[in-house]
């Protein structure tokens, strides 16, 4: 590391949070309405600067979430999503932001906190389509977060994190369909899930909806890494086309 005599550059470190949840079978992301400049009035991801030099990034993320959305997220497992460091991403100066991703079961409607004029859930497709405009490079961050969630659904038991403590296989399928944005065959899905070892555990049979055969209940199994993985059907397996 190079550190002779040298002035520490004035760089601000921030965190941004992509909190995803499912509401009536659609993927939603938590957004706040900015109460201050820049981008005052625009939607943005919850987040903010580190408060003091000893504050950890994860701690800052939790603090901002509590401040801005009044969400108690002790249980939320935040996963590092990436660092966003384009020098021009924030008009106030050089702001390097570390983005975190979290997945949650149906969360309550958040209430506005101190900084943010309003906080609420927004369908991700309206964000990705540009229908809902986001401040800074937050749309990119949301896109990266969704892609990460999609990929994690293939190899980890993340999907159960979208569900409550107990759930049916159909509910689990709803998660996959919402996040992947494609329909799946219930019968093949059922078979695949049940034979993926340690993914789900029986949690007593129970009834569910008003109509149809009552579904069995399950809870998350011990397996974090899925084997075999749940491979996404090939909508477009890749950017590039098959060759030769």
């Amino acid at each position: 590391m190079s550190d002779d005599r040298w002035e520490p550059p004035a760089i601000l470190l921030a965190v941004d949070l992509v909190i995803l949840t499912l509401r009536d079978s659609r993927l939603h992301v938590l957004l706040v309405e900015r109460g201050i400049e820049p981008y005052k009035g625009a939607h943005a991801l919850p987040g903010g600067f580190l408060q003091h030099s000893q504050e950890g990034l994860v701690a800052a993320a939790h603090r901002e979430l509590a401040e801005e959305a009044d969400l108690d997220v002790e249980t939320l497992r935040l996963e590092q999503l990436g660092v966003y460091d384009d020098p021009d991403r924030d008009p106030r100066g050089r702001v390097v932001s570390v983005a975190f991703l979290a997945i949650a079961p149906r969360l309550p409607e958040p209430t506005a906190g101190t900084d943010a004029a309003d906080a609420g859930w927004h369908p991700t497709d309206r964000v990705l389509s540009g229908d809902v405009r986001l401040a800074f490079d937050h749309r990119r961050i949301v896109a990266d977060g969704i892609e990460r969630a999609r990929a994690k659904l293939e190899h980890s038991a993340l999907a159960t994190a979208f569900c409550g403590p107990t759930f049916t296989i159909t509910e689990l399928q709803d998660v996959y369909e919402a996040v992947w944005g494609m329909p799946l065959d219930p019968r093949n899905f059922y078979r695949k899930i049940k034979k993926t070892d340690g993914f789900i555990l029986p949690a007593g049979s129970a009834r569910k909806a008003a109509t149809g055969r009552p579904a069995r209940l399950f809870r998350a199994g011990p397996r974090e890494v899925l084997y075999p993985p749940m491979i996404r059907p090939v909508d477009s397996p890749n950017g590039k086309e098959p060759v030769q």
Copy 2:
């Protein structure tokens, strides 16, 4: 974001680089010997602080690599590995480091640069085993980098990045075996590779080693994302054991 009246915390931003390559069928990582305190004399990843507030992280990474290891890495594609922000990771103060990962074909022996007393390739297993001690939390970063490389081998054409512009299927297999740390069946590997669409393209038949049947030559195909993926055999598919 919260920014009333408030003093920007004194946080130093740094980059660290995990550069992996293959030398005689073993995975190696680039390390420098630290010329200054702290950890003077110890091995460490190349890296360092941002030079000025407008310098991009990737730019800083390339600069440090040139400075410390004299490696021309214009062609190296750096991938973000993660952020390391434990408040105690650096005795000089709060240093948040962004780690980058790069994979390269057999690189030349690097020469020591200005800051580092020495730079060279070290077998990753000697680092992971603790046989080679690293400064800061760099052993952890190396471990994360290797795990990322292992995972990427499954779903991306990364393996070809370890090879030269043209290579044989056996050479490609050597990459998988070295990174995954397990032997693979040559016949099944051959079949799998050839039917993974767009992974490799023929590049003229040619001879190779002194002995045995001459191998065909291939070059990297257009496909970045592998479909179907190259799934790792289950050595231990997961931390937790199969249940029920």
